[in-house]
């Protein structure tokens, strides 16, 4: 009997842990909003964080977008050949990069690069008492550590995503005219055929929410780090896993709500 109940007990414990975690993360988010009033504390840290979260992430985001654009064009051509006019390659590359792959792949790449970095940095500060030291020096730690990182994520992830979308589309375009025997006009025609300005809004809404999720979850796990180096390792891994999952859930949420 006990053996039969075990899966349910595990499920229940998992559910409670998840609910408690979401609650604590929600509390940190509320405290972050409150701490934003300490402008004198976080303002001078915002630009360096924007550079770390955004500028430093551009190479990896563009690298991913470049190859995604190439593959999208090639796969679209392979799928459409003989059945659908080839200018639909432009439709598929444009729509897919803008609505889905640009924001999601950039988000996932940044959850690994930025989320892990934030969790490891803040986690190390926690276990070496640097966060306590901030408190004793009269710095509100959330204003000092969380607010500039979350703001940098909200501002810079959409910028990096926009660049990635642009590079992905250009890569698909070059692939189409160089390898698929399409003219530039065909590709652009396809690209503009079903384009709606809302597509850009949709991509930016997603990217902004991903920026918030990646940075706030990184901060959350960093702040709750316990133990020494092992604890920092756990926090970093969990930050990447949880923010990646949250990105995919949010992706579905926005599709459901906005499309």
């Amino acid at each position: 009997m006990q053996l039969l109940l075990k899966p349910f007990a595990l499920l229940g414990r998992g559910g409670m842990t998840l609910a408690a975690g979401v609650g604590q993360w929600g509390r940190l988010t509320a405290e972050t909003v409150q701490a934003a009033r300490h402008v004198d504390v976080w303002l001078r840290l915002l630009i360096p964080q924007m550079a770390r979260v955004g500028v430093d992430s551009v190479p990896i985001a563009l690298f991913i977008a470049l190859f995604t654009g190439i593959v999208l064009a090639l796969q679209a051509s392979y799928t459409f050949t003989g059945a659908i006019p080839l200018y639909f390659v432009g439709v598929l590359v444009g729509k897919t990069m803008m609505l889905e792959l640009g924001p999601v792949l950039t988000g996932l790449a940044l959850s690994g690069r930025v989320g892990a970095n934030i969790a490891a940095e803040i986690g190390t500060m926690r276990v070496t008492e640097q966060i306590d030291a901030l408190e004793t020096l009269a710095y509100p730690p959330i204003a000092y550590l969380v607010v500039p990182r979350v703001l940098a994520g909200i501002i810079m992830v959409p910028v990096v995503t926009a660049l990635a979308i642009g590079v992905g589309i250009v890569a698909g375009w070059i692939t189409a005219i160089q390898l698929l025997d399409m003219s530039s006009a065909d590709f652009v025609n396809g690209l503009t055929l079903f384009f709606l300005p809302f597509d850009v809004t949709f991509a930016m809404i997603k990217a902004t929410s991903f920026g918030f999720i990646i940075t706030s979850i990184g901060c959350f796990f960093g702040f709750n780090t316990q133990g020494g180096a092992e604890g920092v390792g756990h926090s970093t891994t969990r930050a990447v896993v949880v923010s990646s999952m949250a990105i995919l859930v949010l992706d579905a949420f926005w599709a459901l709500v906005l499309l």
């Binding site: 008492e129 640097q130 408190e135 004793t136 020096l137 009269a138 710095y139």
Partner: protein
């Protein structure tokens, strides 16, 4: 007005760390709190600056009950308190000068030049002049500890809390830090609480002693009183004779 700890209780899960600890650091004096590893000395110190909240009991600093203060009031109180961490807790992304300047930027109205001057002065005090542009990773353990002291004293606090300031240091550096603690007390009238295992250092800096044992205050008195104390737990600790303490427990 000093620091008064009254009937402090604190548990972490099932582990009771403080079980009614009471002690007072009077205005201008240096109180040394003795106790074995894990006896709750650091936990006590963290209550003084509101890094931990007591389960019951209270800590009064400068006439204010720490646990009842609102967040902003707590930050105001912390402007009067310097804290020297056991492992220095220097910000490793900053230079030494930036570390020392952190409190000054937040706790004072000094301009950039005045801050730079004060930073130099503090580094000179702890014999680290010329090290301002180094990062914490470029310093030895003793230098890091001294840098932590420089950061704590930079704002000229009324109260200084030292968490094992001399543990793991060479005898010369230990003597130097002891002199610094004495100087803060004698010349600037700073009220200090020092927690330590290092008995030589403790006898050099203490105006009074308290001993924390099993979560409670086992002894409170002057250096002469602790030397004359017949309590086997206290004697066992200060003389490094565990057999005395074991007999008692």
């Amino acid at each position: 007005m000093g620091i008064v700890i009254r009937d402090l209780h604190k548990s972490f899960g099932p582990k009771v760390v403080l079980d009614g600890f009471s002690v007072e650091a009077r205005d201008g004096e240096t109180l040394v709190i003795l106790g074995g590893s894990g006896s709750g000395k650091s936990v006590t110190l963290k209550h003084v600056v509101g890094l931990l909240t007591p389960d019951s009991g209270e800590v009064e600093v400068d006439g204010q009950i720490v646990s009842t203060l609102a967040r902003e009031e707590l930050f105001e109180l912390r402007r009067k308190v310097g804290y020297v961490f056991q492992f220095a807790a220097l910000f490793d992304s900053m230079t030494l000068a930036e570390n020392v300047a952190m409190g000054l930027r937040r706790k004072s109205d000094m301009d950039r030049e005045a801050i730079a001057e004060r930073v130099e002065e503090c580094l000179r005090l702890v014999d680290l002049d010329g090290y301002g542009e180094r990062t914490p990773s470029e310093l030895s353990g003793g230098q890091r500890k001294r840098a932590g002291i420089a950061r704590a004293i930079a704002t000229k606090p009324q109260y200084l809390l030292y968490d094992e300031p001399t543990t793991g240091l060479d005898p010369v550096t230990r003597a130097m830090i002891d002199q610094l603690i004495l100087r803060m007390s004698d010349e600037l009238g700073v009220t200090g609480i020092v927690i330590t295992h290092d008995m030589d250092s403790a006898f050099r800096v203490a105006d009074r002693f308290a001993m924390l044992h099993n979560g409670r205050c086992r002894f409170e008195g002057t250096p002469d009183e602790i030397r004359a104390c017949e309590d086997p737990v206290v004697r066992g600790f200060i003389e490094g004779r565990p057999e005395l303490m074991e007999k008692e427990s």
